[in-house]
């Protein structure tokens, strides 16, 4: 039971860390356009080089 005193605060910290990582991803624009990545695989980058 005593381990809970370590694990529960740890889990709170982990949730906050996950939230922060997600916020970074969101602010970097990863979720702005969920349709484009599907098309980008079809865009021929080789032609420009």
């Amino acid at each position: 039971m005593e381990s809970l005193y370590l694990l529960v605060p740890l889990s709170v910290g982990v949730v906050i860390a996950i939230g922060w990582v997600f916020w970074r991803a969101l602010e970097s624009g990863q979720f702005d356009d969920l349709e484009r990545p599907g098309y980008s695989i079809l865009e021929d980058d080789d032609l420009k080089r």
Binding site: P9, I18, G19
Partner: protein, 810 residues
């Protein structure tokens, strides 16, 4: 030295060095201060990449001015239309809108302003359409009025819309994720307490779990819940009530009570229920947001039919100018293959124009000197000189665009019924909670009433079901752009079909080749293909792919045909008279096309006639199955088209449609639908093309072809994502099933509240049971909605229709 081009808009730079700014690591020349400023703005915003990735020159959009500057006539030219001497009209984008009630408030508020003639708000696009009297008010005053009630308004500007959308979506997603992470973890902490059957969970460990739950629910409450609290507060200030009111009260009371229990170390906590409830509600809202933004985005495409630049003639020399700088009376050169920049009259030249965007009809229209040209249509064959008559907001294309928006804004009143029930129930819940709390002298009873009867099952009943239906529709090849469309689809009694592009494929195809000379059909087809390969004419596309050789010096004669040499032989393809001039003999036998839906094209060489080709706009293979399926479902089928009456009649006969009308203008289609609606009928419109867009908006429910013009899609409730009609009958069936489930959910939620309300008020259920009951009622609603995704068990009246649909389309 080659003349420098403006780095922004591509115009020639008259004074190199006068407007110069560094961009992408090199100094760039601009044609004017406007382009320099725009480029500077783009660069300052960090969008320099635009210049690297763009495939065409940019335009110089007007900067969004502060409210007072909106009254400047120069600025207004972009977004204000004059109606009569003093009347003005404009479209405004509304910001900080949270729900349908906000839109209603803005609409009502605007109507109360002095000098306002008309104000309507489009719920799908969050745009207000306002008309005012220029003598008694100004646009800036209207914008100030909207700001005074806590919202904001901007004149229509696509770039602003894009930024607004992104910010709104990011924030909504962030709220959803905070609630989601919180809910998951808090549920973990709550689990031991649920399993505890007395004494197995030490008090201090339980307190630890409670404190951890409190800590993680706090961001959910303070951040994720702000939309509910803000909406409830806004409503309270205007002495109104909405579904957000009890949700906000329930969440606040539940959290307050739980926090008190945690601090005091006694009593029940239900942080898990709160976090889960918030997550579910926000999830539904996020999906709704995505659907609404998709609809709004497609509306912006309306502006893109007009080209950005026109070639204005000063004397005989063409100069490239931005389209909004054109004025009536200007002379403009329209090269072949380009869009016409404004409404006007042909001054010189002869060509044909593709007006299919505006009329929906694929047949090109012949244009000679004196003919009217419509802005947005495509000049197909030869350059034309156009005298501009109407520009910008006055053009026919812009007028149709406004018609579309206005027609759509006139609709959503019908959905108010369900809201009213929920609203009166909300009052009841609040009153009972207060009364019970006072009677028992115990705040816990009041909280139990609020939590147990928090109308979240009621609030979830419709959105959750519609979301499931929307996903199912997508797998059937249809995108639902307006959730309430399913309700109308279920009640539909009449179907109005468009012909061109809907029942037919919308492009000419070769139906038959009749050899008239020595050469066989295959050889004639190859010659025709070779001649037509140089033509832009829509009829020419029917011969695409048949060519093995190319014609020497092909020459296009507008409205008549093509001439060219192949293997040293002079050949002509086109109308009968055109070919006759070459071979100088009458056709071998009087050639009569079988009916008006076929267009004959002739091929001749200098020594005689070679062949006649019959072209037709082919019926879609699934059209017959669609009409039969709709009739079997008990719907009346109508065919209304802008095409020639004889063609429409032939088409209706072949499909077995009894009600049909040809040569119907867009206004005529509107009247046709209004007449049906006047008889109490619920009309489903299936169509495509710009001329159908207002009609699609006027109908009770509408379906647009995915391959059709963008404009039609934006006002349609459903868009067929594949270029096929196959999903329509299945969508009808799904709509009936969905509405049945919505009613079950509504009934269940109401029944649960009817039982829980007196029980909680009587003090029989504690907050703990109340939270469980509320969660269970929501869960049942969600599970029931999930049944939509399961494969359909065909209902008896539908069985006949589906089997016959399949056998006919097979």
């Amino acid at each position: 030295m080659p003349a420098a081009q403006c780095y922004h808009c591509g115009l020639l730079v008259a004074e190199p060095g006068r407007w110069r700014a560094p961009l992408l690591g090199a100094p760039r020349d601009f044609c004017c201060a406007g382009c320099e400023a725009v480029a500077g703005t783009i660069a300052a915003a960090g969008f320099e990449r635009y210049y690297e990735t763009r495939s065409a020159a940019g335009t110089a959009p007007a900067e969004l001015a502060p409210a007072e500057e909106l009254d400047d006539p120069q600025a207004q030219a972009q977004f204000v239309a004059a109606t009569g001497e003093h009347g003005r009209e404009a479209s405004l984008i509304l910001d900080r809108i949270r729900c349908a009630a906000c839109l209603w408030l803005v609409e009502q508020w605007l109507r109360r302003q002095p000098g306002i003639l008309r104000a309507s708000v489009n719920y799908a696009t969050r745009r207000a359409h306002v008309a005012w009297d220029a003598r008694s008010t100004k646009l800036s005053q209207l914008v100030a009025a909207v700001r005074a009630i806590g919202y904001d308004a901007y004149p229509w500007d696509p770039q602003r819309q894009g930024a607004m959308e992104r910010g709104e979506r990011r924030k909504a997603l962030w709220r959803l994720f905070v609630a989601g992470f919180g809910a998951m973890q808090v549920m973990m902490y709550a689990f031991p307490a649920y399993l505890d059957d007395g004494g197995t969970l030490p008090r201090d460990v339980e307190a630890l779990f409670r404190w951890a739950s409190l800590l993680l629910t706090l961001p959910v409450l303070l951040f994720s819940c702000t939309p509910f609290f803000a909406a409830a507060w806004q409503d309270a200030r205007h002495r109104r009530i909405s579904l957000d009111t009890p949700i906000a009260l329930g969440i606040a009371a539940g959290f307050g009570a739980s926090a008190w229990a945690t601090l005091a170390g006694s009593g029940a906590v239900y942080f898990d229920s709160i976090a889960m409830l918030v997550f579910l509600l926000l999830g539904a809202r996020y999906l709704e947001l995505g659907a609404r933004q998709r609809a709004a985005r497609s509306l912006d495409r309306l502006a893109r039919w007009m080209p950005s630049f026109a070639l204005r003639l000063a004397g005989e020399a063409p100069h490239k100018v931005a389209v909004h700088l054109l004025a009536p009376g200007d002379r403009v050169l329209v090269p072949a293959g380009e869009r016409v920049p404004a409404d006007g009259v042909v001054e010189r030249g002869a060509s044909s124009a593709d007006e299919s965007l505006l009329t929906g009809e694929a047949r090109p229209v012949r244009k000679a000197a004196g003919a009217r040209l419509v802005g947005g249509s495509v000049n197909l064959e030869q350059p034309l000189v156009l005298r501009v008559m109407r520009v910008g907001a006055e053009t026919q294309a812009a007028a149709i665009g406004r018609l579309v928006e206005r027609a759509a804004a006139a609709r959503p009143r019908a959905v108010a019924g369900a809201d009213r029930i929920a609203r009166s129930l909300t009052w009841l819940v609040l009153a009972v909670a207060a009364a019970a709390g006072l009677y028992w002298q115990d705040p816990w009873v009041a909280i139990a009433v609020l939590v147990a009867t928090c109308p979240c099952a009621l609030a979830l009943a419709t959105p959750v079901t519609l979301t499931a239906a929307s996903a199912r529709l997508l797998s059937l090849g249809m995108a639902l752009t307006r959730a309430r469309a399913l309700e109308a689809l279920e009640r539909a009694t009449d179907v109005v079909l468009d012909k061109t592009g809907t029942l037919t494929e919308g492009r000419f195809a070769l139906a038959r080749t009749v050899p008239l000379g020595a050469l066989d059909a295959q050889a004639c087809l190859q010659l025709a293909g070779a001649l037509e390969s140089a033509s832009r004419h829509p009829l020419a596309r029917a011969f695409g792919g048949a060519a093995t050789a190319a014609a020497v010096d092909p020459l296009s004669c507008p409205g008549r045909g093509m001439e060219g040499s192949i293997d040293g032989r002079r050949l002509r393809i086109g109308s009968e008279s055109f070919c006759r001039e070459l071979c100088e003999v009458a056709p071998p036998r009087a050639f009569v096309p079988p009916d008006a839906s076929h267009t004959p094209v002739f091929l001749a060489c200098s020594t005689g006639w070679l062949a006649a080709f019959l072209l037709t706009d082919r019926l879609r293979p699934e059209a017959r199955g669609l009409v039969a399926g709709l009739r079997n479902a008990g719907l009346h089928v109508h065919l209304v088209s802008g095409d020639q009456p004889a063609v429409v009649e032939a088409c209706a006969r072949r499909l077995g449609i009894e009600c049909f009308a040809g040569a119907v203008a867009p206004e005529g289609k509107l009247e046709y639908i209004a007449r049906l609606q006047g008889e109490g009928r619920v009309v489903l419109m299936i169509g495509d093309g710009l001329n159908d867009a207002p009609v699609l908006a006027r109908a009770d429910v509408s379906i647009a072809m995915g391959g059709g013009a963008d404009a039609a899609q934006l006002q349609a409730d459903l868009v067929l994502t594949g270029d096929s009609l196959r999903g329509v009958v299945a969508a009808m069936r799904l709509a009936r099933r969905t509405m049945r489930i919505v009613r079950q959910n509504f009934g269940w939620a109401l029944a649960y509240n009817a039982l829980a309300l007196p029980a909680a008020a009587a003090g029989w259920i504690g907050p703990w049971e109340a939270a469980l009951g509320m969660a269970a009622s929501s869960f049942i609603v969600v599970l029931n909605a999930g049944r939509i995704s399961a494969p359909a068990r065909d209902q008896r009246p539908w069985k006949a229709s589906t089997s016959s649909y399949r056998s006919q389309s097979a």
